[in-house]
């Protein structure tokens, strides 16, 4: 029998994975994926909790997150393409002009 805790734990794990990804990855694309994973971790949590409370708010939140995530990807990919076209790389180590 899968209780809510399982879902929450899963979401926690996903969040952790996402976080690790954010920290480890140098490739912008991978970074975006990592952040998406974190958002989805939240989605799972929301969905689970909302069903536990029999309350739709959580699912609503989840939908909004999905929508936002989508638009984020849109903007993000836009930027990414721009960068790739201009500088031919999407490795974040190559964007370190401004420091100090």
């Amino acid at each position: 029998m899968i209780t809510m805790n399982h879902y929450l734990i899963l979401s926690g794990i996903l969040f952790a994975i996402g976080l690790v990804g954010v920290v480890r990855r140098k490739n912008l694309l991978m970074l975006f994926f990592a952040t998406e994973i974190m958002l989805n971790a939240a989605n799972i949590a929301f969905a689970a909790v909302s069903s536990y409370y029999h309350d739709l708010t959580g699912q609503m939140f989840a939908f909004f997150i999905i929508a936002v995530a989508a638009s984020e990807v849109a903007v993000g990919l836009g930027l990414l393409i721009l960068l790739y076209k201009k500088y031919g790389t999407i490795n974040i180590d190559d964007f370190t002009i401004m420091k100090g």
Partner: protein, 496 residues
Amino acid sequence: MLAPISVNMASLNFITLSPMLIAIAGALGILIIDLVKKDLDKTLYVILTILVLFIDMGATLGLTLNERGFFDVVMIDGVTILGELLIVIASMLFIPLALTSKRFHEYSYPEYFALFLFMIAGFQFMVASDNLIMIFVGLETASLALYTMIALHNTVGSHEAAIKYFTMGALAAGFFVMGAAIIYAVTGSVELYDIAKVLQERIGEPGMMVPIIGGAMMLMVAIGFKVSLFPFHTWTPDVYEGAASPMAGYMSIVPKIAMMVVAIRVLGMYIDLGVETVRNVVIAMAVITMTLSNMMALVQNDVKRMLAYSSISHAGFVMAAIALDTTKANSSIFLYYTLFLFTNLGAFALLWVSRHKDKTHHVRYHHPYVKFAGMIHIEPVAAVIMAIFMLSLTGVPPFSLFWGKLYVISATVDAGYIWLAVIMGLNSAIAAYYYLKLIVYMFLMPAADQARTVYNNRSLALEIVIGIAVFATVASIFYVQPLMHYITYLIGASGY
């Protein structure tokens, strides 16, 4: 078996939404105009935007206190009105800066102005709701627009800035939703007033502290990111440097105000609940932020970057007030930001005026200190104005920000945090050094070469904006009283 949904238009109470709606409508309008007729001049769009903002401001002023609307998601209280007003005013000062004599091509896209209005709508949603969903949506709308506008400046710097800001923003968003999720899990609600109620009951339960505070901290990360608190501030200097000066100035004010409002609501809730840990964390972060960024600002060679760090430290300064969570403290926040708005925007505008297409004085920086050397001999008026802004930022009376500091420190003292007040004082003293540095360069140093070209981006619009800023900075002593009165009234009325 869902119950049929019947929405009563009256209960929607669209009037509460009017500011955002106006902004959105304006944005759409601009896009349509662009569809209808191509290659219109930016001046048209600028003026249109200003007009829209005027209407927006009218609508904001028309709002009635303590109302809810739109499925009770939108909440109009004093903080909301103040937040929206500040956002609009700042925007109105910002947008004329597009009318430069030099051609910067981001302003030639009508989309730029549309995005701008969307962003304003987003921020207004943020401040106008106590619903985590709404806050989140507003935040993201605004941010996404902002990223794009930064990128539109279309220099190497701006691209790098955009990507940095974007990625970290995404991460912050992740933390925000996760925090929201935890809170939701604990309380089964995303409405702050509900959450407060539930927490009130459950706070005593064993082991309940962990999720409560955990959630709070997750949100804290998101807030910290937007208002740039250590250690989430790292993007700020880079993004400011990369973005166009007016945009940098704008970013140092509007997003922060919006997020401050959210912080007042969210953190205020926790502090009211007596969760001292949250307060202590906020104070700790505030202190570290202002001290550290002050120290970093000391060693900058670029005025713009210095101002970036300085605005970080100002944010920390104000953040400390949030932790106090007294009416006076909350009022002082808005007073401070109102005064800070004019001074800081003025300073950045002045940098904008002195912007070169090519980096004449430094391989990387647009505004190194040396560029301003001996300005008193070349552009005395501009030098004096800049000096006034710097002195105001330092907190030298009678210039505007002195009164802000006075109120914030006074609020801190009243709340019994003498040591914090002392730290604030010492920090202002440290800060004095780097503001002074610019004055020293401008007044006490021999003139730099090609100094003639310092002012090549001037235009009437810019001069007007700067003029307004100067007036607001110098004449502050005369309007602080009514302003403070109004702010205190609004804050008090909505019980913060």
